[in-house]
Symmetry: C2
């Protein structure tokens, strides 16, 4: 995909067998922001859940001294008002207001409310946009919802998206670290869906640079939406949850002590495996193992790739056909009567809580079987997205970088179950739904193969030859190597 | 629902707080069949999977001497030709032919081919029906598929359905037993979707009586389709599979020997619990327990009802919105590349195979916790279908009678995993998909509640007061008490 900017320097990077145009970010670009936001005097940030607090604060800080005001808009009486006030968005200083009023008075409004609130209120929200202003999204859910209803955006406004490839708290935390290390941040994709004044591309790029994105790549709302909803059901949340539960049951069944089983599954993934991938790439996880462990990794990888791919294909088809979004909307309608339960009461997470409370515990090892299963699923997701035509930047960020640099560190800090129980309703429903499917297919197909004499090395051979290794190297060069500091004082 | 017949005596039966019109069956009604099939000289039976062999043979036997020919139609070159010939449907005697040819020459054709074959060939199939002839279905999948495509049946033919509430082999086996015990058979629902000559209702009733249905009740194609696709994902296949896996893992985790755990889960459900429900109703399972076991049953029931209901509500919404059918069609498109794997390699079924091979093993006990979980799920399905407006006959047959009189006895004979691996693609996909969800929600919510001090007896109190107990009594009076003889010589 290629695009041009009147404000920022673009770069063409070679991603394996393809080329992509990107904008590399950094604080040295902040002086260009007034030019990028030409004609915009106020940016409304609507909503205060995951992305809202992060984006509002990052934008305010990046735009300091430019005269462009960042104003938070919330439902009248929202309990989030207090939280916004606590970080300085107040009615008194004119940077906090009722959401429809904020949209009406802003030149660009970023809709960061929940998917359900979107679905319920989009008509009133659209009506609040003045002609010629700009509607910003941070993921594509709304598009798919409109398509399902046979509706569309108002034709007389810009519609753009900037989608950070990490959750809100990571977007904020790495931006803060970026004060010391220029360029630290979460990568983002952008999409221009409607451009009524010829300025939409630079609005989007300015927004992304102001958020602190190390690099920004182009996508479409549809491609973003698919990979996003798919990715969180896959390796980012659903699969990692199901893989951990399934392997934990397997190891305990084989006689491993329960706390060791926790360290060898959940924590093995969220700490050593993720850190190695983040710092040195996918192959490094395998290469650091001794010969015996290498064989165990290969056995697990080869046995798990196809079963995981089968579930991932099903997820992608259900997302692309609109089934998943319909399911989410149906579920939110049921929640009054059947509230969504938590997932953290199973044996594994109860044991995990105990283990995690023990600060003197052993470091989690890189369990070779766990690594083989987890990375087979990750690669199945990479291969699927490539086959379905997604840009490499989107693939790498949505399948690997978001996992190892944003979500898994938080899962390490808070626990996988906490993450699943506390993400957006759309993600949470999807993760709960598909985790069980990954668990079952591993138990039904992968584990019996690992324990059998079957030997098919094809998946692992393809892994070694994958273009993704080169892509990750390019991505790594585009941003400084910074470990996200989820809790500044904890373990090195 | 009320209907009238020009041929058969109808009865109005009181089902709890409602009334339903039904036709009671029996061999003494066979002399009325020529009148019911007025104008029909040949019935084509298209397809030879589950229902095909059963319905073709039952119809042929019931219509013997009437001059109405039953002719089987199959794809040219189908491997099933041999099987049809083996039971006397031969090209030589004019009762076997190519399917489109058989439809063209028949006055009524029963489409008993697979859902995928339906979806692929419905246009050519419709074109083969002469105006004024009758199209028969044994479930509503085709309607939902047509609706999804925005299409409809040809307007110039009758469209009727007779849907036996049991799988083909049960329809055949009980019909054979009916030679000795008049009225033995599988209940059926019927629907008249289009009636171009005023005879459609009696065609359907004649068809059902000829199949050996003890009683026939009215429904609509839509209601049938929803309850059918929903039911097999729920207690009939998906839930029973997930419940068994989940409880097995729980009992083994608590230290129970693996073969005992198999007897206390899968076999406890398919033998003693099912037999008691079949012979004496739902409450009898509870009433036969001692005080300690009664308490365990209640604890399990109360803890499981809401989690199971939550998943069942999700299934129903996904069926009603067309999501499930879209998923099935998408899956069959993927099967070339990602064939559906079997479920029988997990620890539970491997142990189960061994246990089941031991003819001298102990009888499975009525495990009170297993019974409580299983029946909570069954009742959640009953309550949901009632709330969604299904007739009581459909509810009782699709949630209880089909389970305890048709499917569970076969599961006892062949194993739950064999059943799931060998039913229709639509059922198999659905069962695999939802079993994992029932397993997870029980593990995440029901079991922690069982083990906690929480005491909410509301679900069990509602169970005692449910109208379903009266409905089952009425259903039992409408058919003789015959245990299906899946293998005539095995265990009394």
């Amino acid at each position: 995909m290629a695009f041009t900017s009147k404000v920022f320097e673009t770069r063409t990077v070679k991603m394996a067998d393809r080329e992509e145009t990107i904008v590399a970010g950094g604080r040295h670009l902040f002086p260009l922001l007034p030019k990028a936001f030409d004609g915009i005097r106020q940016i409304g940030v609507i909503g205060w859940s995951s992305q809202g607090p992060a984006q509002a604060q990052n934008l305010r800080e990046s735009l300091e001294g430019t005269g462009i005001r960042v104003k938070v808009g919330l439902r009248e009486g929202s309990s989030s008002m207090k939280e916004a006030e606590a970080v300085g968005f107040t009615k008194a200083n004119g940077t906090l207001g009722e959401m429809y009023q904020v949209i009406r008075e802003s030149d660009m409004s970023l809709l960061l409310i929940s998917d359900a609130a979107f679905a319920e209120n989009y008509k009133a929200i659209f009506a609040a946009f003045r002609p010629g202003t700009t509607l910003g999204l941070s993921h594509g859910f709304l598009l798919s919802h409109l398509q399902a209803q046979g509706e569309d955006f108002p034709k007389n406004i810009n519609v753009i998206a900037v989608c950070p490839k990490g959750m809100g708290p990571s977007v904020r935390r790495l931006y803060e670290q970026g004060r010391e290390v220029n360029g630290a941040g979460i990568n983002a994709s952008f999409a221009v869906h409607q451009d009524v004044n010829g300025k939409a591309t630079d609005y989007a790029l300015g927004w992304s640079v102001a958020l602190g994105s190390p690099y920004t790549f182009e996508t479409t709302l549809e491609s973003e939406y698919r990979s996003d909803i798919f990715g969180e059901r896959g390796i980012l949340l659903g699969a990692v949850h199901g893989i951990a539960e399934s392997l934990y049951a397997r190891y305990v069944g084989q006689g491993m002590a329960k706390d060791d089983a926790y360290l060898n599954t959940s924590e093995s993934i969220t700490v050593p495996i993720s850190k190695t991938i983040s710092r040195a790439g996918l192959k490094a996880v395998y290469e650091q193992l001794d010969e015996k462990d290498k064989a165990a990794f290969r056995r697990a990888y080869n046995a798990s790739y196809h079963p995981c791919r089968e579930i991932l294909e099903e997820i992608y088809d259900d997302v692309a056909s609109g089934n998943e979004v319909r399911s989410v909307i149906q579920a939110t309608r049921r929640h009054g009567k059947y509230p969504m339960g938590k997932i953290d009461s199973t044996d594994m997470w109860v044991v995990g809580e105990k283990v995690r409370a023990d600060n003197s515990r052993n470091y989690a090892p890189t369990n070779p079987e766990t690594a083989g299963v987890y990375m087979a699923c990750m690669m199945a997701q990479v291969d699927l997205l490539k086959e379905r035509g997604h840009p490499y930047s989107e693939i790498a960020n949505e399948s690997i970088i978001e996992a190892v640099d944003s979500l898994n560190p938080y899962m390490d800090y808070k626990g996988v179950s906490y993450m699943v129980d506390n993400c957006s309703t759309t993600a949470r429903l999807g993760a709960r739904k598909w985790a069980a499917r990954f668990d079952y297919i591993l138990k039904q197909q992968a584990f019996p193969t690992i324990d059998s004499a079957v030997k098919d090395e094809t998946p692992f051979d393809k892994f070694l030859k994958s273009g993704i290794h080169e892509v990750l190297k390019v991505c790594a060069e585009l941003r400084p190597s910074v470990d996200i500091a989820v809790v500044p004082t904890r373990r090195g």
